[in-house]
């Protein structure tokens, strides 16, 4: 079975580039150049150096002793929460901004939900001295005020998306509309493994540094590159794509993706796309999509703004379809419990997105000797208000 993208931009039946003609030249330019640019040794050198000196890579692979005792397995945490800006998102924005420079672009646009990708984009734009506009749903701007101000301090303009449901999906629509109107000098930094080909593949490649490091780090600790399980949360799926990337063809490594069930998968307030979605087209790719019988996109719900998206990347739709990745989900309540548990057991307050991955532990059964790697995609600083509101700690 093939898990990587094919020459037409498809993962099995999913993917492609369903874009209006107005975006065709931009996307074609990217498609024709991304592999040669990121394969170039000068690009690699700049990317690696920034990941090391600026982002703080490699991030530790930390053996979580007390968590391991709790669940009866050897549990490691891949500490993406220690990346500069507090989440894995910056791996991708560093890669894309260097690429944008090589393509001769002067301006950057991005969409953001919780604000993590927006902050990571504003950060690299400050670093490179490039103009930055971030689209953010008007409702999300109210929910995530500190991140809005972080972006502004970093010099970015934050534009409220006032259309539709005024959340992440609409911010993405607005960013695409901006790109349609500014096709020549602007690069659109998409924040997850979504969007038209080549974005899903490109973002997955930039995030693949996560599993690249896991392999040698685990080898140092355990004498093997291959854990029994890798667990990651999925919103659009970029941290999961990075954590799974170098294990996809190693079928002995069981891969687990955890989606946000919100108030329960059948509650009508959920973001568990693999459970609730059907094949459809949104934001440039064919993928699993939460939608009505008439094909109108449904507004998802999760306590975690970063998982609050009605689709998943086409790569994940294919991994779900083929059974290569097992899809679990966790409710708001289960994620919050898991987040507080990690805080008390290990002294690490995780992002609520990442807490969804931790919540899967409870739903799985392990042998004592099982090696489990959980991708801790981000830290909980941005979520303090949600933790406080939830209150059970």
């Amino acid at each position: 079975m093939r898990y990587s993208v094919d020459e037409n931009g498809y993962y099995g039946q999913f993917g492609g580039a369903y874009i209006p003609e107005m975006l065709y030249p931009n996307v074609e330019e990217l498609r024709d150049n991304y592999l040669s640019i990121i394969g170039d040794s000068a690009f690699k050198a700049e990317f690696d150096k920034l990941l090391k000196d600026y982002v703080g890579r490699p991030t530790p692979l930390y053996f979580a002793k007390r968590l391991s005792e709790q669940y009866g397995a050897k549990i490691y945490l891949k500490r993406e929460d220690l990346c500069h800006t507090g989440a894995h998102k910056v791996n991708n924005t560093i890669g894309q901004i260097i690429l944008a420079k090589k393509l001769g672009k002067q301006k950057i646009i991005a969409e953001t939900g919780a604000g993590q990708h927006g902050v990571a984009t504003a950060t690299v734009c400050a670093l490179m001295g490039m103009e930055c506009i971030v689209y953010m749903g008007e409702i999300d701007m109210q929910r995530q005020k500190p991140n809005v101000e972080r972006m502004r301090i970093l010099g970015a303009e934050v534009v409220p998306a006032k259309s539709g449901s005024k959340t992440l999906k609409d911010a993405t629509n607005e960013a695409m509309r901006h790109w349609i109107s500014n096709p020549v000098d602007t690069h659109y930094i998409i924040g997850s493994v979504v969007g038209p080909h080549p974005y899903p593949d490109m973002v997955a490649r930039f995030q693949s540094v996560i599993s690249e490091e896991m392999k040698w780090q685990l080898n140092e600790e355990e004498g093997t590159e291959y854990p029994h399980y890798v667990i990651a949360c999925v919103g659009g799926g970029s941290n999961a794509a990075g954590a799974f990337y170098h294990y996809l063809d190693e079928e002995k490594v069981k891969l687990v993706a955890v989606e946000a069930a919100g108030r329960g998968v059948d509650s009508g307030e959920s973001a568990a796309t693999s459970y609730l979605g059907k094949p459809g087209v949104l934001h440039g790719s064919k993928t699993l999509l939460m939608q009505t019988a008439d094909g109108q996109v449904v507004e998802p719900y999760s306590i975690s703004a970063g998982l609050d998206y009605p689709g998943i990347g086409p790569m994940h739709a294919h991994l779900f379809d083929t059974g290569r990745v097992k899809f679990e989900n966790a409710t708001d309540e289960e994620a919050m419990v898991a987040g507080v548990e990690l805080s008390k057991l290990e002294g690490i307050i995780p992002a609520i997105e990442s807490a969804h991955a931790l919540a899967a532990l409870r739903k799985m059964s392990f042998e004592k000797s099982d090696i489990v790697v959980i991708n801790l995609s981000g830290r909980g600083d941005k979520d303090l208000e949600t933790y406080i509101k939830w209150g059970k700690y």
Partner: protein
């Protein structure tokens, strides 16, 4: 190739005016009346929008009309029922415009059958890429006599314009500038240069210029470089503010055509 109403229009008429409106806007059951009034007023083609929750190629005016239409309960199924009635009294070409996802969920096969049955002549699906169209959809569309209308923009390469010209036989939709849909005041020098460049390519297909046409002047200018013009947002604004009465729609078309 069988000729259909679209080919007839371009053979027989000059300065073709195509008017867009969103099905289900302002009220759910306005589709028939608007179509009749547009034809009576002298519109040459009607473009009916199938509303979608996420219309990325559209500006604020058409976005809002999509949203309202969905709130009113519009769906493709209902639209086909309305169109059966429309075709009993309206004889100018009808083109459906919309995004691919609702069409896929309706079922592409059933969709094409319904189009043929109710007399839809063409489709504009902006997020259906040409490669995909050629590989999967072309055969089905042609079997049911549906013309697929491609878009070109100022950034579309000459080679791609030629390729598009080869793969359709209805007309080509010339997007007037790098933008989403929306009414604007006048054309810039760059836009005029682009219109001229395409005109000089002597394509086998007629072209209609759309996006940003809002008044008699821009309509006439468009007609000097192409076979006519497409008006959307300006018409939506008109019926939104003044209603869909026959006299109002008649005046709108007269004002544009002069």
């Amino acid at each position: 190739m069988t000729t259909n109403r679209i080919n007839d229009v371009f053979q027989n008429k000059k300065n073709v005016l195509s008017v867009y409106y969103t099905a289900g806007f302002p009220e759910l059951n306005n589709t028939l009346a608007i179509a009749q009034y547009l034809e009576a007023a002298g519109a040459d083609i009607i473009e009916i929008g199938m509303p979608f929750s996420d219309p990325v190629a559209d500006g604020p005016t058409i976005q809002e009309s999509n949203k309202k239409a969905l709130e009113n309960g519009m769906s493709i199924k209902l639209l086909f029922e309305q169109l059966k009635e429309v075709r009993q009294s309206v004889s100018i070409p009808i083109i459906l415009m919309g995004y691919i996802n609702p069409v896929l969920q309706f079922g592409i096969h059933e969709f094409c059958e319904n189009c043929e049955e109710v007399g839809v002549d063409g489709l504009i699906l902006p997020d259906l890429p040409m490669a995909e169209y050629m590989a999967v959809y072309k055969g089905k569309f042609e079997k049911h006599g549906i013309k697929n209308v491609f878009l070109i923009t100022p950034q579309t390469s000459e080679q791609r314009v030629k390729e598009i010209d080869q793969n359709t036989d209805g007309f080509i939709y010339m997007v007037s500038s790098a933008s989403t849909t929306g009414a604007k005041g006048s054309f810039s020098v760059e836009q005029i240069n682009y219109f001229e460049r395409i005109k000089n390519m002597n394509l086998k297909n007629p072209t209609l210029i759309g996006f940003g046409i809002s008044n008699h002047d821009t309509y006439l200018q468009a007609c000097t470089y192409s076979s006519g013009a497409i008006i959307g947002s300006a018409f939506i604004n008109c019926i939104d503010s003044s209603g869909i009465e026959k006299g109002n729609i008649n005046q709108f078309v007269k004002d544009i055509k002069g």
